[in-house]
């Protein structure tokens, strides 16, 4: 899986959890809680979806590392290798 594919999965799952978010409007450094207003249940659902799609079991202590598109792509790419 390359970075563009990871990015697409992340944005797809993000807009499935929050249908009002349009993927093309999400900035690389938008924070999912501070900027996109996800709550703790939304974050857990995003982590669950990313785990299902990429196989990466993101532990709670790593949640800050998927908090933006840019961070998540790097983190997931690294974890999948």
């Amino acid at each position: 899986m390359n970075k563009a594919e990871i990015r697409a999965i992340y944005l797809q799952e993000l807009s499935r959890i929050a249908p009002d978010i349009e993927p093309e409007t999400v900035g690389d450094n938008d924070h999912i809680q501070e900027d996109l207003e996800l709550d703790s249940m939304d974050v857990l659902n995003l982590v669950t979806a990313l785990h299902e799609r990429t196989g990466v079991d993101i532990p709670e202590t790593d949640y800050p590392r998927i908090a933006t598109v840019a961070l998540a792509v790097e983190y997931l790419k690294g974890a999948m290798q």
Binding site: P19, S40, M41, T48, H51
Partner: protein
């Protein structure tokens, strides 16, 4: 059309999920209705066979009006409507009965002046009701309090200007909360509670679990409220027609903020009987259905106490407004790191402030404080939840 909230006047039928001839069992979802609080799934009240669907999708149906005819086993279909058997009318309608207008017409009289009781004027101003659109039912056509309470809020608006769903929801929240604040004598008890044991317990528990099986702090709060409410029964139930009726199960309403604004507080049915994993799974399901607008009618009406939590970031305390006909709401602020004294030592701990809003018609501080103490005891022994 069932009432799906104390201030609901009508609902719009979106779709039928059954057809004539179908067998239905009490609790089956048979229709979807659009309300101010979003689309709600309607459950059938009885067992039987669908005989006729009298309401058509798209129709706005007042609360209390039949949507369908369901026959119990062995029951005969009702007689056809009077119009169909004109030769032998079942009931005689007044010959010149006029259709009731959708909006009451303005009473004749000098512009800007409407005869209304002082209480009705005050209430109309508070609720944003235009007296000009009301028909008075008091002596000599005077508008009285009951006329205002039964009026559509913001009656100045013409039906040709449809409100957005978010406007509708705000109006529903405004109406319910205004009535709650005006009719329920609230009192409040607050306690700041050490939740470090609960946070540490979850960190250990979630560490070796895949994301789909992890539990949030909110689920522990729901467990603690459910168990505390099943013990301290005076905060769990409904106040109806001047009498408190304690509930024999705990159905905690969980306030869910909706993206774009507004909130709903659907109930987690019989939460005291669940374990922690079941509670978490039920909350995930409830939140996702609240977001996508597929809650059930029973979840909207059968809550017995409400929990409102600010989540993991935000203000440290919140005093909620009771959701009638319930008699208590538990507000839980976001966890804060604070210096705390443990065994004579000052140490940093995560604490939350719980605020119980309770109905003084039903309980007083002495009883309410037992609930707060029970919650504190439970949340400090998270393994027991």
């Amino acid at each position: 059309m069932p009432s799906l909230g104390a201030d609901m006047e009508a609902g719009t039928l979106v779709e039928w999920l059954v057809k004539p001839g179908d067998t239905v069992t009490r609790g089956d979802v048979i229709a979807v209705v659009e309300t101010q609080k979003g689309a709600i799934e309607i459950e059938v009240f009885e067992d039987g066979t669908v005989h006729e669907l009298t309401a058509v999708p798209g129709a706005s149906v007042p609360v209390g009006m039949p949507l369908a005819v369901i026959l119990a086993e062995g029951e005969k279909p009702p007689a056809p409507t009077p119009a169909a058997v004109a030769a032998q009318p079942v009931e005689t309608a007044p010959p010149e009965r006029k259709a009731v207008p959708a909006l009451p017409v303005a009473p004749a009289g000098p512009a800007g002046h409407h005869r209304a009781s002082p209480a009705a004027r005050v209430r109309a101003q508070e609720l944003g009701v235009d007296l000009a659109v009301l028909q008075g039912s008091g002596p000599g056509g005077v508008i009285i309090l009951a006329d205002v309470d039964g009026a559509p809020i913001g009656g100045e608006r013409q039906p040709s200007e449809p409100r957005s769903p978010i406007e509708e929801m705000r109006r529903a929240i405004a109406a319910t909360m205004t009535r709650a604040k005006q009719t329920i004598p609230h009192f409040y008890l607050s306690q700041t509670i050490d939740v470090q044991p609960a946070i540490d317990f979850l960190a250990r528990r979630n560490a070796d679990r895949p994301p789909g099986e992890r539990v949030l702090l909110g689920a522990l709060f729901v467990r603690a409220v459910s168990l505390a409410a099943s013990k301290i029964k005076i905060v769990n139930g409904h106040f109806v027609e001047g009498v408190f009726k304690p509930a024999n199960v705990v159905n905690p309403g969980v306030a869910v903020a909706l993206r774009g604004g507004g909130l709903v507080a659907p109930a987690l049915m019989d939460a005291a009987a669940m374990d922690l994993d079941q509670t978490m799974a039920a909350m995930r399901d409830l939140v996702s259905r609240a977001r996508t607008g597929r809650l059930k009618g029973s979840e909207m009406t059968e809550g017995t106490i409400t929990i409102t939590s600010l989540g993991e970031t935000g203000a440290e305390a919140m005093a909620g407004i009771i959701f009638p006909p319930q008699v208590a709401i538990v507000g839980i602020g976001a966890p804060q790191t604070r210096p705390w004294v443990i065994e004579g030592q000052v140490v940093p701990r995560s604490v939350v402030t719980l605020t119980l809003s309770a109905d003084h018609r039903v309980s007083d501080g002495r009883q309410a404080t037992r609930f707060v103490s029970e919650f504190e005891t439970l949340i400090q022994e998270p393994e027991s939840l």
